[in-house]
């Protein structure tokens, strides 16, 4: 009875705020714009057919269109709109809940009732999440309906966005609650939460950047290993007696220059190995520190991971042209991992002496970039959702216990 009364009060408080309706209005608008992306015989259309974009691969509700729509949701709308802009609006709306509640005359009357302070604190906290719950639920259900009606794909995974975004927000709001209870100031609570969020962003970004560098170094070391192995094969082949048949197919290399080349490659590999170890060390350290912090980026990324797994194309594949190439019947630009290519290149060691054309250089960089992206993505995909959510909730629990302890022990 008391819990329901407190939750009902929280609901009434939220819907009485203008910001609730402003955010809801924007949410509905975003869903409407999202739902206005359609297809016809020629390709994509915008604003319910008002503008033709005309990309044939999207025509007539193709699988690419399905991937595009759901990719936009999980890869763009949730991380950008819900996890940034709507979150800021929600924080502005809910930051005053605890400071206002603790004002003289307001809290006295509630504390004088036969209800424990811990219960008041936690129910009030959960009640404040009602704001986000309602907004996200309306948004995700809207997207679910749009995708279902537009594409015919009734993907229930979209609705996982509701708990995911709620979890993400709860990490931040727990900190907001702690500061709000401690300082009793809405402004201080908002500012410190944004600072905390920025700090999380920096740590998450640093982890991601170091992960990219680490993967690059790892690939580089693997490339050197393959080059060295190829050179050693070549050396071995050069040094042993050859049949007449082989004489006709094998390049003649000077064993001495091959040895020098192997030495040079080994030196470079050793150097790259050191770089890789340094990045690994730093990445490990920052990942360890992140283990006790809420994983905002990874939590939001879970949705993209789950939604993406059901789709024929990822948003990256659509934007980078893979889907278009497949639609055109052209082979993908990257036949395989860059490391396996190196292995083949390395066999023709003579070519390494030749200048690489600008186009080849760009293609090589592009392949490297994609492989690094793939490895980093794979690394994130391999992280257990239970670990991501569990450790984040652990942090939230500790913060809430501290906040609750202050709330319970304080004289009002």
């Amino acid at each position: 009875m008391q819990t329901i009364a407190l939750l009902t009060d929280s609901f009434r408080m939220m819907v009485a705020r203008r910001m609730f309706w402003v955010t809801l209005g924007i949410n509905v608008l975003v869903v409407l714009v999202y739902g206005s992306i359609g297809t016809n015989d020629e390709g994509l259309t915008m604003l319910f057919g008002l503008f033709d974009i005309g990309i044939p691969m999207f025509a007539n509700d193709s699988p690419v269109y399905d991937s595009l729509m759901q990719g936009i949701f999980s890869g763009m709308l949730v991380p950008v709109w819900l996890a940034w802009i709507a979150t800021i609006l929600a924080l502005i709306s809910t930051t005053s809940v605890f400071p206002d509640f603790q004002e003289e005359g307001a809290i006295d009357v509630v504390l004088s009732k036969p209800i424990s302070r811990w219960k008041i604190f936690f129910v009030k906290y959960l009640g404040s999440l009602v704001f986000v719950l309602l907004q996200v639920a309306i948004f995700c259900i809207g997207v679910f309906l749009v995708v279902g009606m537009r594409v015919g794909d009734w993907n229930w995974t979209i609705l996982a966005g509701i708990p995911i975004v709620l979890l993400f927000y709860s990490y931040l709001y727990s900190f907001n609650t702690l500061i709000g209870v401690f300082t009793r100031s809405s402004i201080a609570a908002l500012l410190f939460t944004i600072l905390f969020w920025f700090m999380l962003f920096l740590v998450n970004s640093a982890e991601n950047t170091l992960n990219v560098f680490r993967s690059q170094s790892e690939i580089s070391v693997q490339q050197f290993d393959q080059r060295i192995a190829a050179a050693e094969t070549r050396l071995e082949r050069t040094e042993r007696p050859q049949s007449l048949l082989e004489l006709g197919t094998t390049s003649f290399n000077d064993p001495e220059s091959l040895r020098r080349r192997i030495d040079s490659l080994q030196e470079q590999r050793a150097s790259e190995q050191k770089t890789y170890e340094a990045f690994s060390r730093w990445h490990g350290a920052i990942r360890t520190s992140l283990a006790v912090l809420p994983k905002t980026r990874e939590t939001i990324g879970l949705l993209d991971r789950w939604v993406r797994s059901d789709l024929p194309y990822t948003l990256t594949e659509i934007f980078e042209g893979d889907a278009q190439r497949e639609f055109d019947g052209v082979a993908p630009s990257t036949p395989g991992p860059v490391t396996s290519q190196i292995e083949e290149d390395a066999l023709d060691l003579d070519e390494t002496e030749e200048p690489i054309s600008r186009m080849e250089q760009l293609e090589s960089n592009d392949q490297l970039h994609r492989e690094v992206t793939d490895r980093v993505q794979e690394d994130y995909d391999n992280r257990s959702p239970w670990f991501v959510i569990g450790t984040s909730l652990g942090f939230e629990a500790v913060i809430l216990l501290i906040g609750g302890w202050i709330f319970v022990r304080r004289d009002y």
Binding site: R12, A106, L111, P114
Partner: protein
């Protein structure tokens, strides 16, 4: 916090102490008893610790030391609060709720069953005269209306005791009378009321017993009769003072005093009578009669600290013999305000003691 059960007591406190951070000693060993079925007034100057004491009872403030019981249960027990009503000072309700919703919300927190709440809310709104405003948002209420609603919410759980902190703050005279009636009605139903108010006149009208807190300690406690007993006196009012009146009065009273000591302060100098100019301040003359009663004269009224009528007869005779015109004679009981002023006065200087709680010294803090 354990005490023997005292079924006739609604509140039974002993040695309540509270020291806030910064070593501010709000309460220094307060003991207080409120009987069932009585209206109890908690008085004191600003910062005396009244609200702190009430908040300790309501578990809003944690005591440093506390022995006692509220409705027979140890102080601090949350379940007891289901039988207690409370109106805090500076009450603030959420502006987005209507009067009706507020009462329902507060009653739900007080564990009033949902079936009872609606009917009870209607009764309480009727009681405080807010029925017409029940569907309006509190944001549109005046201060007095909010206070009326506050009273209503404090009674939603049909409490055995209600603690009202400045209940008439911002309420118009009609509303004040209504609130007084509510308190009296509760008393008639055997419920207790503890009222914390600065409006001494109102407290005096309804309270059976009072306690005056000064700097965190009980300066006086008891029924109004008990507390005012020592201050009862007769007052003899004479015709508006003339140049000769004080002198005549002095002469009249002097006949009743011992010869060797001046009866009433030194007589006014003949060349500068205190009442010569309109509006002049006549010094208060104080002294003692031969019968031992203290007396004082301010130029218009002679006050004799006794409730015995015999010595008064002699004084009247003496005054009349000297031609002093007596306008009235009446027995007087000190008002609550007199009591209050006396209680808060510093015994050394006679002036009101410093406002606020005391700072504990390092030695005391240890």
């Amino acid at each position: 916090m354990t005490t023997a059960p005292t079924p006739d007591l609604a509140i039974n406190l002993a040695n309540v102490e509270k020291t806030y951070k910064g070593k501010v000693r709000a309460l220094r060993g307060v003991s207080m008893r409120v009987h069932r079925g009585e209206i109890f007034g908690l008085l004191g100057p600003n910062g005396a610790g009244k609200s702190t004491l009430v908040k300790i009872l309501m578990t809003i403030v944690r005591p440093t030391k506390c022995e006692g019981a509220l409705l027979g249960a140890p102080i601090g027990q949350k379940d007891t609060l289901a039988r207690v009503g409370y109106l805090p000072e500076h009450l603030r309700f959420p502006g987005y709720l209507t009067g009706e919703q507020t009462l329902d919300y507060m009653a739900a927190l007080a564990k009033v069953p949902s079936k009872v709440r609606k009917k009870r809310a209607e009764e309480m709104l009727e009681l405080v005269g807010m029925t017409a405003w029940r569907k309006k948002k509190i944001g549109s209420y005046s201060k007095g209306m909010k206070q009326r609603l506050g009273i209503a919410q404090s009674l939603m759980n049909d409490p055995d005791i209600v603690l009202l902190d400045e209940p008439t703050d911002g309420v118009d005279p009609v509303g004040r009378r209504d609130i007084r009636n509510v308190m009296v009605e509760m008393k008639e139903r055997g419920k207790s009321v503890l009222i914390n108010s600065h409006l001494l006149g109102e407290v005096e009208m309804v309270c059976d017993r009072v306690s005056i807190l000064v700097q965190g300690q009980v300066a006086a406690q008891g029924t109004l009769d008990e507390l005012t007993d020592g201050g009862r006196r007769y007052e003899i009012e004479i015709e508006p003072a003339t140049e000769q009146t004080p002198q005549k009065l002095f002469e009249g009273v002097a006949a009743l005093t011992q010869a060797e000591r001046p009866p009433i302060a030194p007589p006014p100098p003949s060349n500068a009578p205190p009442t010569k100019r309109p509006g002049a301040v006549i010094p208060v003359w104080r002294g003692e009669l031969t019968t031992g009663e203290a007396a004082e004269f301010d130029g218009r009224t002679l006050r004799i600290n006794t409730m015995d009528a015999k010595p008064i007869q002699s004084i009247i005779d003496a005054l009349r013999q000297r031609g002093v015109v007596i306008r009235s004679l009446r027995p007087v009981r000190p008002s609550l305000e007199d009591l209050f002023i006396e209680a808060v006065a510093d015994p050394e200087t006679g002036k009101a003691r410093a406002v606020g709680a005391s700072q504990s010294s390092k030695k005391e803090a240890k």
